[in-house]
C-alpha cells in the first residue's frame, strides 16, 4: 500500500468516525450566549444538556469566572435536562458539562457588550 492510499484510507476513516458520531454526540446549549449590559454586568442563562448512553452519569455543570478556577454549580443523573442560573453570569463566564469522571464534555462561554446607546 503506497503513501497516497494510506492517506486516503485515513481520511475516509476519519469521515466515517465523524459521521458515526452524529446524532449521538453531547448537546450542551446555553442561552443567551451573548448579552448587552443594559441591566448591569450580570445576567442569567438557560442551560440545556443531552448526553448519549455511553457517558457515565451523573453529569455535573461547573462554572468559572474568567481567569478563575471552575466551581461546581449543578449535578444531575438525568441524561436530558435544563436549568437556569441566577443573575451571576458575567462577561467571559464559562459553563462546563462534565461526566462522572470529571471529563469535560462541552464548554460554553458567555460574552457581553456595553449597552448600545439609544438616541443622540
Amino acid at each position: 500500500m503506497n503513501r497516497l492510499s494510506l492517506l486516503r484510507l485515513a481520511a475516509l476513516s476519519g469521515a466515517l468516525l465523524v459521521l458515526s458520531g452524529c446524532g449521538r454526540s453531547v448537546s450542551f446549549e446555553v442561552s443567551p450566549m451573548h448579552f448587552f449590559e443594559c441591566h448591569g454586568p450580570n445576567t442569567e442563562v438557560r442551560v440545556k444538556w443531552r448526553v448519549p448512553h455511553r457517558i457515565k452519569l451523573p453529569i455535573s455543570i461547573y462554572v468559572s469566572r474568567l481567569g478563575h478556577p471552575p466551581v461546581p454549580w449543578y449535578a444531575s443523573s438525568e441524561r436530558v435536562g435544563e436549568q437556569t442560573t441566577g443573575v451571576w453570569i458575567s462577561d467571559g463566564s464559562s459553563l462546563m458539562l462534565r461526566d462522572a469522571h470529571g471529563k469535560v464534555l462541552a464548554r460554553r462561554t458567555v460574552t457581553s457588550d456595553d449597552c448600545p446607546k439609544t438616541g443622540g
Binding site: 503513501r3 481567569g67 467571559g92 464559562s94 464548554r107 462561554t109 460574552t111 457588550d113
Partner: protein
C-alpha cells in the same frame, strides 16, 4: 514575477501532490500561467489564515474558555496580526516556509503557555508590563519560572524545536527564487509593521482602538477575552507609546513662574510644622469611595446627624472642597493624582493611568515619604489586580499592598463589598505593629454602587434615614442606600480619628471622597445642586486633621493633585522641588483673585508634571520662583514683627 515560476513545496507536500520536484503550480495547471502565478500567494494567504486560527485556538485555551469563542471578531484579526508579521518576516529572512511557520507557532505556543500558567497561578493574564520581568532576566528569574513550568518539558520542547528546525533546513526547499522582488517586498512590509509596533505612531491607536477591541480597562482578563492576548498586549504598547506623548511648553512654565504670590499667600521659610520636628507624625490618607456631602443638594438641608464626624471637623475648620478628575467612577484617576501630584489634565489621552502608564518606576508621594524615613503601605479591600493596582503600587514604591486576599475571611461585609469597618481594623492593626513612622494609603470600597438595589446590614438604620417629602420612591431608595454607606464611612473616620488621638503620637489624617457617585434618580429629584452647576462639576469634601494646624483646610478649594503637597506640609516633611511648585500653585489659586489665574497655573503645572513624570529636571526658573516666594513671605513676616 520570477519567484512564481519553479514553485517548490516542502518534501512532504511535494510527495503528496505526486512526484519529486513537481510544483503545485504545475499540478493545478488549469488555466496556464494565471493559476501557476496565483498558487503561491493564495497558499500563503491560506497559511496566514490557518496560523491565525491556530493562534486563536491557543488563546482561547490559555483562558480556559470555549474553543474559538469570538472567532473572526475584530479582536481575532488584530490578535493574529503580530504572528502573521513574524511568520512573513521569518519567511522573507530564512526563505523556508515550514521553518517560518514552525517558529511562529512556537512563539505563539510559548506566549500562550506563559499566559495559561500565569492565569493558573497568579489569576491574571500576561501583560505588556511583564516585559519588565524579561528585561531583568537572570538566574533568580529562571528559578522563579522553574516553579511554574516543569524544566523537563521545557527542555524537551526546546530539543524538539531544534530537531524540527534542522529537519526543515535539510528538507525544506527555498520558497522564493533568488533575487526575488517579492521576497524583498514581504521583508519590507514585515519590517515596516515591526517598526510601527515599536514606534507606535498615532494612527495605530485607531487600529488598536479600545472601543473596537472591546477593551475593559478595569479587567485585564476581559480585555484579553475580547482582543486576544497579543491584541491586548499591542493595545497596551500603542497606548503606552501615544498617551504619554504630550509636549512640554516652556512658555506655559515661564508664565506660571512669573506669577507672583501676594505676601499674605506666601509660605514662611520656617513653616509651622518644621521638618526638624523630633517625632514624625504617622500619616493616614483615607480615600473614601464615592463620598460627598449631600447637603450640597438643593433639597437637602441638614444631615449633621447622618455625617456627624464630617460636621464635627467642619466646625473645627478642618474641611475644604476638592475637585476630583472623575465623576461616577474612575477612582484610580483621583488616586493617581493624589499619589503622584500629576494632574490627569496633563495627559488627556490617559483615561486609566495605572493601565496606560506601564513603567517600572512612577515618581510618587511614597518615595518622598520613604526618603523622610517612613514605612509606606497601601490598603484596599478589593482584588489587587483590579485597575492593575498591584503593578502600579509596586511602581510607586509601596512597601506592601494589602488587598482583599490579606483581609481575614471573616472580614465584615456591608453593601456589595468589604465594609469600611474592616478597612479601619486593618489600618489600626498596621499602625499598632509599626516600628517607625508610617504612611498608609487606605482606599475604601463599601460605598461603591450601583445604589438602586444594594444590600444593607442594618435595615433599621437604613429605614431611619430621612428623605425629603415628595421624592419618587426610586430616588428615595437610591438616596437611602447611598447615605447608609457613607454614614458608615463617616463613622469610620470618627473611629480612626479617636484611635490616632489615643495613641499619643503626632498624626496627620486626611480623608476625602474620590468622586461624586453616579446616582440615577437623586440628582434630579433633589432639583440639582445649591450652586446650580451639574453633578460632574461638583467638589468632594476633604478633611485634614492633625499637622499642628500648618494650613487648615478650612473652606479651601484644592485640586486632588495638590493633596500630596498638603500632606507633606501638614506632616512637616520638606517638599521636594516638584511638590514645592504644587504648593505654589495651591497658594496662587487660594489667594484673593486667584481664580483668574486658573488657566495659567494649570497649563504651567501640566508641563511641569510631564517633566516630573518623565524624570526630567525641572527648569532653574522654578527654583528661583520658589525662593522668591519665600523671600516675599520672609519680608512680610519681618514687616509684621516691625509693626
Amino acid at each position: 514575477m520570477s519567484w512564481l515560476s519553479g514553485v517548490v513545496w516542502p518534501s512532504c507536500c511535494r510527495r503528496y501532490f505526486g512526484g519529486a520536484n513537481v510544483s503545485i503550480g504545475k499540478r493545478l495547471h488549469l488555466d496556464g500561467v494565471v493559476v501557476k502565478r496565483l498558487a503561491k500567494p493564495v497558499a500563503l494567504v491560506l497559511l496566514c489564515l490557518l496560523l491565525s486560527l491556530v493562534v486563536w485556538a491557543m488563546d482561547r485555551r490559555s483562558l480556559s474558555v470555549q474553543p474559538m469563542v469570538d472567532v473572526f471578531d475584530y479582536g481575532f484579526f488584530l490578535n493574529a496580526l503580530p504572528f502573521v508579521v513574524v511568520f512573513l518576516l521569518l519567511l522573507a529572512l530564512g526563505n523556508r516556509l515550514s521553518l517560518a511557520l514552525l517558529l511562529a507557532l512556537f512563539l505563539a505556543a510559548a506566549l500562550y503557555g506563559a499566559n495559561y500558567l500565569k492565569i493558573k497561578y497568579l489569576l491574571q493574564p500576561v501583560a505588556f508590563s511583564d516585559v519588565f520581568v524579561l528585561r531583568e532576566f537572570h538566574l533568580s528569574t529562571l528559578h522563579l519560572l522553574d516553579n511554574y513550568a516543569h524544566p523537563f518539558w521545557l527542555m524537551t520542547a526546546i530539543v524538539l524545536l531544534l530537531l524540527l528546525v534542522a529537519a526543515t533546513f535539510r528538507y525544506d526547499r527555498r520558497f522564493f527564487r533568488r533575487r526575488s522582488l517579492a521576497r524583498w517586498g514581504v521583508l519590507g512590509v514585515s519590517l515596516l509593521a515591526c517598526a510601527c509596533v515599536v514606534a507606535g505612531p498615532a494612527w495605530l491607536g485607531n487600529v488598536y482602538s479600545p472601543k473596537r477591541l472591546g477593551v475593559v480597562p478595569w479587567s485585564p482578563e476581559r480585555t484579553v477575552l475580547h482582543a486576544g492576548l497579543a491584541g491586548a498586549i499591542l493595545y497596551s504598547d500603542v497606548e503606552y507609546a501615544n498617551a504619554l506623548r504630550e509636549p512640554v511648553s516652556p512658555e506655559a512654565i515661564d508664565a506660571f513662574m512669573k506669577l507672583r504670590l501676594p505676601p499674605s499667600a506666601a509660605s514662611t521659610p520656617a513653616s509651622p510644622a518644621s521638618p526638624t520636628a523630633a517625632v514624625k507624625p504617622d500619616v493616614v490618607i483615607v480615600q473614601s469611595e464615592s463620598f460627598f456631602d449631600p447637603e450640597i443638594l438643593k433639597d437637602i438641608d441638614d444631615n449633621a446627624s447622618l455625617l456627624p464626624t464630617l460636621h464635627k471637623a467642619m466646625t473645627q475648620g478642618l474641611v475644604g472642597a476638592m475637585k476630583a478628575p472623575t465623576f461616577g467612577g474612575g477612582t484610580l484617576r483621583t488616586e493617581f493624582e493624589v499619589l503622584t501630584g500629576v494632574p490627569m489634565l496633563a495627559y488627556p489621552k490617559i483615561s486609566f493611568p495605572y493601565l496606560q502608564i506601564n513603567r517600572k518606576h512612577i515618581p510618587s508621594l511614597v518615595q518622598v515619604m520613604h526618603q523622610a524615613g517612613y514605612a509606606a503601605y497601601a490598603v484596599h479591600p478589593n482584588d489587587g489586580n483590579f485597575w492593575d493596582r498591584n503593578k502600579a503600587f509596586k511602581a510607586m514604591g509601596f512597601d506592601h499592598f494589602f488587598s482583599k486576599k490579606d483581609f481575614p475571611a471573616s472580614a465584615r461585609h456591608d453593601g456589595w463589598y468589604i465594609a469600611d469597618s474592616s478597612l479601619t481594623d486593618m489600618v489600626e492593626g498596621l499602625l499598632s505593629k509599626a516600628t517607625k513612622p508610617t504612611f498608609i494609603m487606605a482606599i475604601s470600597i463599601e460605598g461603591h454602587g450601583p445604589y438602586e438595589h444594594v444590600p444593607v446590614d442594618d435595615k433599621a438604620a437604613w429605614a431611619k434615614i430621612p428623605v425629603p417629602a415628595g421624592w419618587p420612591p426610586k430616588a428615595a431608595q437610591e438616596y437611602r442606600n447611598y447615605v447608609y454607606h457613607i454614614s458608615d464611612a463617616d463613622h469610620e473616620l470618627g473611629r480612626l480619628w479617636d484611635f490616632l488621638k489615643a495613641r499619643n503620637r503626632p498624626f496627620v489624617l486626611v480623608f476625602y471622597g474620590d468622586h461624586l457617585p453616579g446616582l440615577q434618580y437623586v440628582y434630579e429629584a433633589a432639583h440639582g445642586f445649591d450652586n446650580g452647576r451639574p453633578a460632574n462639576t461638583q467638589r468632594v469634601p476633604w478633611v485634614l486633621i492633625g499637622g499642628n494646624g500648618a494650613r487648615p483646610a478650612q473652606g479651601r478649594k484644592i485640586y486632588s493633585w495638590m493633596m500630596g503637597s498638603e500632606v507633606l506640609g501638614a506632616a512637616g516633611i520638606k517638599r521636594p522641588p516638584y511638590y514645592a511648585l504644587l504648593d505654589r500653585a495651591d497658594r496662587l489659586l487660594d489667594a484673593p483673585g486667584g481664580g483668574r489665574l486658573d488657566t495659567t497655573v494649570q497649563d504651567g503645572i501640566d508641563s511641569l508634571a510631564r517633566l516630573h513624570l518623565n524624570g526630567q529636571p525641572l527648569p532653574e526658573s522654578s527654583q528661583s520662583a520658589v525662593s522668591a516666594d519665600t523671600s516675599v513671605a520672609a519680608d512680610a513676616a519681618a514687616g509684621g514683627v516691625a509693626r
